[in-house]
Structures are given as C-alpha cells and as structure tokens.
C-alpha cells in the first residue's frame, strides 16, 4: 500500500488542466478510486418517517438524484453504501437500524437526515425516542431541517461526495475498512425493562461538555 502513497504528484493542477486540454488525462490511483465510488453511492431503500417522503421526492423527476449517481436505492443492506437515516429513530427501532448498519459492507457512510435523526428533534422529549442516531452508529453528514428540502438532501450528498474524495487509502486517516486495527461492527443495544441497554454506545457518542445554563428565576 505504501508504494502507491498518493500526494506526491510532481505536477501542478494548472499543468494537469493544460494536459487535459490536449487530451491527456493524468490521475492517481487514489483519485480515480475516490472519484469512482463518490459518483456511485447507492443508498439503502430505508425510510423511517416524514423525511423519507422528501427522500423519495429527491429521487423523483423534479430533483432527480440520478444526476448524482445515487438513484439505485437498494432494498438489501448488503448492496448499499449509504444509510440515510430519514426520520425519527425510536428506541424500539434503534436495534434494527444498528443491525442494518452492521449488515452493510464497508466502505459505508451514514447521513442523518432531519432534526429527528440528528437529535430526536421535536420529539426528543418522548420516552420512546432515541436522541440522535449517533448514539449508536457513526454519522458522516448531518442535514438539519424538519424535514430538509430535497435540495438540502442533495446538498448533503454533495458534501458526502466531497468527503469521500478527500479520503486517503492508506495511513492513519484511511477509512475503517482499510485498517486492520478497527472493528467496524457497532454493538446492538438490547431492549431493557425501562430503556435500551446500553442507552448509548459510549465509544461513539462523546458529546462535548454540555453548555448547561444557569437556572432562571
């Protein structure tokens, strides 16, 4: 892997563009690899709540997610690259979402679409609502909104593509699936008597010190 270590391209971008104009395309293996997979992200056909309707709308004629190479909504997690958590994750549903995530092969990505998937959103005070899917699985892109417009989902997808293009395929910043020292599976929570057990994955979910305010008079 080290031989194809990227970044040392002894040619500037301007020169590359000049060559491209003459019909010569220069690229690195890493760049080609990232270009290929960022342009064919297959999402899981998985809708949870309101945001799922906007996700369907994004895949329909008006917004046409096919222009980004992501129209292939796969019903099976085994064939999907991207989990769009589109809606409220309840505590009853959370183990299933984690299981789906574990069933997806690497490299895989997760978009938390909408307020509910990010933090529980307007329903966060509910006893059966998980306060954010990032308590159990790692999330790459957060799209706030309730629900986000289909354009916002497309914008999030573009952000994800940019993130994928910036990834190296070796070294300490390499993605999970190219590293032997990481376990990609997330533990699945169990149904307890009052709550999920454990209520969150402490390795993944480490919020910064909450800016708890002073109580008011």
């Amino acid at each position: 892997m080290d031989q194809i270590a990227p970044t040392t391209v002894p040619i500037t971008d301007a020169e590359r563009d000049e060559l491209r104009r003459h019909g010569i395309l220069l690229t690195g293996l890493e760049e080609l690899y990232n270009w290929g997979r960022s342009r064919s992200v297959w999402p899981l056909n998985f809708g949870l709540a309101c945001c799922a309707i906007e996700m369907i709308a994004a895949s329909m004629a008006k917004f046409d997610i096919a222009r980004f190479g992501s129209e292939v909504f796969r019903p099976s997690p085994r064939q999907a690259d991207l989990l769009i958590v589109s809606g409220t994750v309840t505590k009853k549903m959370a183990p299933q979402v984690v299981r789906l995530w574990n069933q997806m092969p690497e490299p895989k990505f997760c978009i938390a679409m909408g307020a509910c998937a990010i933090s529980g959103g307007p329903f966060k005070q509910g006893y059966n609502v998980l306060k954010g899917i990032d308590r159990f699985i790692p999330v790459d892109i957060y799209i706030p909104g309730c629900p986000p417009r289909p354009e916002a989902l497309l914008h999030g997808l573009v952000q994800l593509q940019e993130k994928m293009r910036g990834q190296t395929i070796s070294g300490p910043d390499a993605p999970r699936h190219l590293r032997a020292d990481l376990d990609c599976d997330c533990p699945i929570p169990e149904f307890g008597e009052h709550d999920l057990e454990p209520p969150q994955n402490d390795i993944l979910f480490q919020p910064p010190a909450s800016p708890v305010r002073t109580p008011k008079a």
Binding site: G47, M60, G87, T88, T90, Q96, P122, F123, G126, N128
Partner: protein, 384 residues
Amino acid sequence: MQDLSPGGAHVRAVHDEFHGDLLEVSMGPHHPSTHGVFRMVVTLDGERIVKLKPVFGYLHRNHEKLGEGTSYLGSMPYTDRLDYLCSMTNNWAYAVAVEKLAGLTVPERAEYVRVILAELTRLLNHTCLAGFLMQDCGCSGTPLMYAFREREKILDLFESLSGSRMMCNYQRFGGCRVDPPADWLARAQTLVDGYTAFLDEFEALLTGNEIVMARTQGVGCMSAALAVSAGVTGPALRATGVAHDLRKVDGYGVYPRFNFRVPLGAHGDVYDRYMIRVLEMRESVGILQQALAGLPGGPIMNPAAKLRGFRPKAGEAYGRIEGPKGEIGFYLISDGSPNPWRYRVRPPSFINLTILEDMCLGHTVADAVIILGSVDIVLGEVDR
C-alpha cells in the same frame, strides 16, 4: 349475527383448509413495501397466509404524551407530523376539536379556504397512494413518478401559502394563519383546471390495465358488516358499499353547500379501494371548482381567538373530519390549564389495520403487500 370476533369462525375456515409445515416470516420493520417501519409476522403454508400478526410501535414517538406537555397552539405543528402526507387535514381536525372545546366560530372565508386546502390534500394523498400501490404491485417507478410530478405542483402551492412543503402548520383555532392572496388563488385555479386531464391520463395508464386488474381484483375483500364493526373508515369503508362520508354525515364546515357525490364500491377488494380513490379525486376537483368560485371575502381569523394564553375552560370535546385516509379525530380533555389534560388522536390508518389479518388470510404473501398498500397507511399516524 355474524361472528366478527378475531379468530372467529370465518378465520378458522381458512386455517383448516391447509395442512402442511408452516413457515413464519417476519416482514419488516425494514421492508421496502411496508410503507415505513411496519412489521407483519406472517405464518405461511406454502405461499398462502394462514396467520398474520401486525407489530406496531417502530415509529411510536409519543405524540400524545408530548401533546399533554405543550400548549394547545404548540401541538399544532406536531399534528403536521402525524400523517405527514396530509398535514392540512390533520391541522383542520385538531382545529375543529379545539374550536368545539372552546366554542370558537370560524369566519366563512376561512371555512372555504380550509375546504380548498383539504381537497388539495385529498388529491395529493390519493395520487401518491395510487403511485405507491402500483409500486407494490411491481409496477416500478412510472406511476409513482407521475404521481410525484403532480404532488410537487400541489406542494408548491402549499409552500407559497404556508411556507413549508409538507409541514404546513397553517390552520389556527378560529381561522387560518395567512389570507391567500389573489395570485395564489389564480394558481390554484390553474392547477385544478388541469387536474382532470392528469387524472384521465393516469387512469389510461392504470385503470384499464389488464395486469393491474388481474393483480388486484378479488384480492383482500372485506365485508361491510365487518368493516363497520372494525371501525374502518374512509375510502376503505366506502369500497365495501357503505355510504359513510363525514363530509355528508356530519356536514362540517361549509361542505353542505357543495354539490358532490360519494363514490361507493361493491366488492371491497383492492381494485375497488383504488377506484374509489380515483373517483373521489374527480369529486374533489368538482368541490375545488365550486369552492374557488364561491370564495367569499371577509376576515380569515376570528378576532376573538387568542394566540397566546389560550385556556379553554374545563371540559372535553371530540372533533372529527373526513381525512383522506378516513375519520381523523382529536379528543381533548381540558382541566382549565394552558395544556390539555389528555390529548388523544383517533388515527384512521391505525384503526383501518384492525382487520388486516382478516383481509389477508388465504392470499399469497405477495398479495399481503398490495392489501397493505391499498389500506393506505402512514406510519407516523399508525404509531403516533
């Protein structure tokens, strides 16, 4: 008297027909054709269903408990998220319940605007449902694509009036939030004028299609007596031939002023449920034409209605309207405080699922998918 209890004689007859090794299949909560996170535990004999147990709760987001904790106004945006395809009718049903509880009247113009928006919602919901149902039949893509093309047009109208595509939060107790301007009404008129042409085209695509007919006729029948006993409402009830449409029965709002018919089915199967919806859309177009033509001037809000500090006196009220999926009702108990003591939603999609097992028994597992699709559920409302 016919035995209508669960597991009664009509169920046993089917159970006894089959003898073989039974296979239990769990469909959902992640299944591409369960319209969300719904789960059915199906027991199969070969490919025939001998038992079907629906499992709910995967989208139970505590709507009723949250409603007890927020003010009356604060629950209005939450009702948008119940049946997230039809936020306008949810808003209206909730407004009706609160208006009953507080004894508020609604100006005439607001009543007309509510009718216009509710009928647009009905068009939107039924069009999408037809698309989803065909998706379930295996007709992948095209009808849903056409349905969503029309949906976007209606959503553009909603967005330019209320500010949001899906979560309109538009109705208020005693009226509506924004007065629709003249150019909005002109755009709505253009859309309504063109909708019949779309329906003609949509029906040419689907209604006479032999494959659709073979797939849906005689599938998932329900009897009128069972449907009434099980509380089934909306198009699913009318497909069995029971003339029960709250727009006629209760005559709420200004519906008695409009001339429209209630389409009725004869068989109560999936095809009838699809046809009822198509015919209802045509009636809705007629209501919209009459409402847009007869829209009176005047205020849009009852000036007596308070936005903040709304405290109805102790008591209770049940208000219901005919939503696109059936009777959507809200039951509120007030103890005189700013928050309701009890806030209950009567969800049509949830109660229409009561006899899902009875409809599916004896059919193949592939039929269960379209039977579920034809009931027209939205999980946000089923589980709340």
